[in-house]
Symmetry: C2
Subunit: 440 residues, 2 copies
């Protein structure tokens, strides 16, 4: 079933509406091609701020926009909510369940998920954070730990409930640990009667010798100091050797905890497997210099699921600027090829890096600029608000941050969704016989 | 296990932190009693605006506040996240799973859920809206219907997907139908390529002879006209006789739909059953004039789970003003009794009623004032923002409404949570082998 009407113009199909895929779609607005964007969710997520949803500082809608809304002005573009399940390279079609979407150019921007270094059984206890549902799930887990601790009489279990272990010392792990520390020491400080949330223990574990390895060493050190001032225990050169329901194993040391937050490894989407292409050990497709898949000049892979080398021969990291620059290049390449021309290979320009530690500190590495502390935090805030898609979201995020900053409160501290831990106590439902209220 | 420390002061236990329970707790702030508030959720919900979460105009956090935050300033009050499962009237304890919470005064403010007039099997297809999770579930259902219709090739199924049936012509049903009509005709209008959301069919079904029976007849008529102008089909004197996966049965007529929204009947919580008390057919406890349970002078029931008569001998409706006035009375009664005195019976003062139809019209009935149309809508907006708990929420709601009003957009149009309809197509997960990223 060919669902995309054919106008005779080249059909560009983009799978995945993250930073990479969306950049391609937007840059093709005025190109004489028909664009179809396929995503398994109806919204684009600003992933770098997911940790703020998990720590109750922002609402999901503050950092997510419907893909249709972002692209509604582009008459050559349609959006399909569907989960791609494969690629038929012979017929030139994307397979999504029983649907087939034909393409002339295909862009795979299908991203990555967390990885557990071969220990997939850890996932049940050590949750990663890549989607809105991941973030609200983590928020429930963190807030419920405090609620359960308040009425826990066993001191050992109480201390497990008030211990949070963040695994992975990259930007996500550092930001997560800082945000949990502030949640406990500020927003929750006065809310409980039996426990003192400011005594919560937050441990950040990193296998490498220092935090934030993409930053220069003195900035890593500044980040570590800032975290320790917030009360975070930083453990570098420490590998996680086990995760279970009641704690985490670091070699022969065990830390009792009910909340392990995973910000360590990632693995690419299935795109490489769909294509039978050569991948690196993270599952990322080794692409040609024009980002096409060797042997398939019309199929391109970008973002977290592509293995692209920088000028020093090192693979580019899985961050938003890489995906966006690849997306921009690819849109230009498709536009040029449709017009009969060609382009030189893709080249990445490093825009620098930013990471924040709590509500007042950050580290910034931008061209020759190296900054840490308060001014860096302001730069970080402005940059993130600027890059958030949509005027409304920028305004709401700015307002929520201002509110959190001034009041130390967290406005979105809601425990939603089901929790077996709480529902187990419920043996009856709150429903009796009906009440005829004069209607229906 | 007695978990509440005993200071020697009377212990007031409040089950349920809705409008009623929370009013009691707040009014006891400076009374020499120890207050414990028990709720199965960590947040208070402003139920009258849940329909705006379901129709993507507001975020959950805009209309919900953590109970701990609301009560943090009251040193005599503690909050317990737990699901009450019974009352031991002999020992004077609330039972919550394996916990027991002793009381000297007990306030049951446990609310109500939807009722299906003995057809509990309809619940799977006709969803009600009482909690945040109900609202985000409905939002997913409504938004997914449009997404599925966009790529549906069978015209009959497509029309089913674009038909929304709201059952119940009280305030919730009227507001819901108006909001869905505006969502389809304004926010979504330009977002799709194959379907035209403005052609969506919205049907409001009411068994009684007119909408909004608590209003005067000319206001009911004004509401009907406003809804019809928005494109809603209003069917009064029409009873629902069946609900299934593919439609709703109205006598011998069938309307094909994938989304039935239930705003018809309610049934009280289990409080009456816990107490073995006399209840009406909606399960509401028939209380004494001082809101106590006959035979249990220290146990009180208020709000949607209490059957209280007005001066004409009719039971008071299940609305916020009733619960709040009962709560205020009860706090005063407890304060007076603790001091050795007593109070005359509870008397309800009707503050009037408000209902909104979309973004520009409402009906208002307040003392001698009768208003419909645009000015009524402004009154409705101000009243709702005023009564929303918490400064932050007021500001955010006002801003979101202003934004929706000016832009016709819906900022929170996110489909979250799992949907079997979409996941069925997915035969593989997006995970391959791990990527060792230098950490843990």
């Amino acid at each position: 079933m060919n669902e995309v009407s054919h106008t005779g113009r080249p059909r560009v199909v983009i799978v995945g509406a993250g930073f990479g895929g969306l950049t391609v779609a937007k840059a093709l607005a005025d190109t004489p091609v028909d664009v179809t964007v396929i995503d398994q969710r109806n919204h684009h997520v600003f992933q770098p701020l997911l940790y703020q949803v998990a720590t109750a500082a922002l609402s999901p809608a503050d950092i997510a926009s419907p893909i249709r809304t972002i692209l509604k002005g582009q008459r050559n573009t349609s959006v399909m909510l569907a989960k791609a399940t494969g690629i038929d390279t012979d017929s030139g079609e994307v397979v999504a369940g029983d649907r087939r979407i034909p393409f002339d150019y295909l862009v795979l921007a299908t991203g990555a998920r967390h990885a557990y270094f071969g220990h997939d059984d850890w996932e049940a206890f050590a949750k990663g954070i890549k989607t809105i549902d991941d973030a609200t799930g983590l928020r429930r887990r963190i807030l419920l730990a405090f609620e359960k601790a308040e009425f826990e009489t066993d001191p050992e279990e109480r201390s497990r409930l008030l211990t949070f272990v963040v695994v992975g010392g990259g930007a996500t792990g550092v930001e997560m640990a800082g945000a949990i520390a502030e949640l406990a020491r500020e927003a929750l400080a006065a809310d409980f009667r039996s426990i003192d949330p400011t005594h919560a223990r937050i441990v950040l574990v990193e296998a490498g010798p220092r935090l934030l390895p993409v930053f220069e060493e003195h900035l890593s050190e500044a980040a570590r100091c800032s975290l320790e001032e917030l009360g975070v225990e930083v453990r570098v050169s420490t590998a996680v050797t086990g995760c279970d329901d009641a704690g985490v194993l670091l070699g022969d040391q065990r830390i009792g905890t009910r909340a392990i937050l995973w910000a360590a490894g990632v693995q690419a989407s299935l795109a490489g497997r769909w294509l039978g292409a050569e991948t690196d050990r993270a599952g990322r497709v080794r692409v040609a210099p024009d980002l096409s898949v060797p042997g398939h000049p019309q199929i391109f892979v970008i973002g977290d699921t592509a293995h692209v080398l920088d000028m020093d021969g090192k693979p580019l990291p899985g961050v938003a600027p890489v995906a966006k620059q690849e997306g921009k290049y690819l849109a230009k390449l498709i536009r040029t090829r449709v017009a009969g021309g060609d382009l030189p290979p893709f080249r990445y320009r490093d825009p620098g890096a930013l990471a924040t530690i709590g509500r007042k500190r950050a580290v910034v590495q931008f061209r020759r600029l190296r900054l840490s502390g308060y001014l860096a935090w302001w730069l970080w805030s402005l940059a993130h608000i600027y890059f958030l898609i949509g005027f409304r979201n920028r305004l709401v995020v700015a307002m929520n941050w201002a509110w959190t900053y001034v009041s130390l409160q967290r406005g979105t501290r809601l425990i939603t969704g089901s929790d077996p831990g709480l529902d187990q106590v419920a043996s009856e439902t709150a429903i009796t016989k009906p009440h005829l209220k004069g209607v229906a």
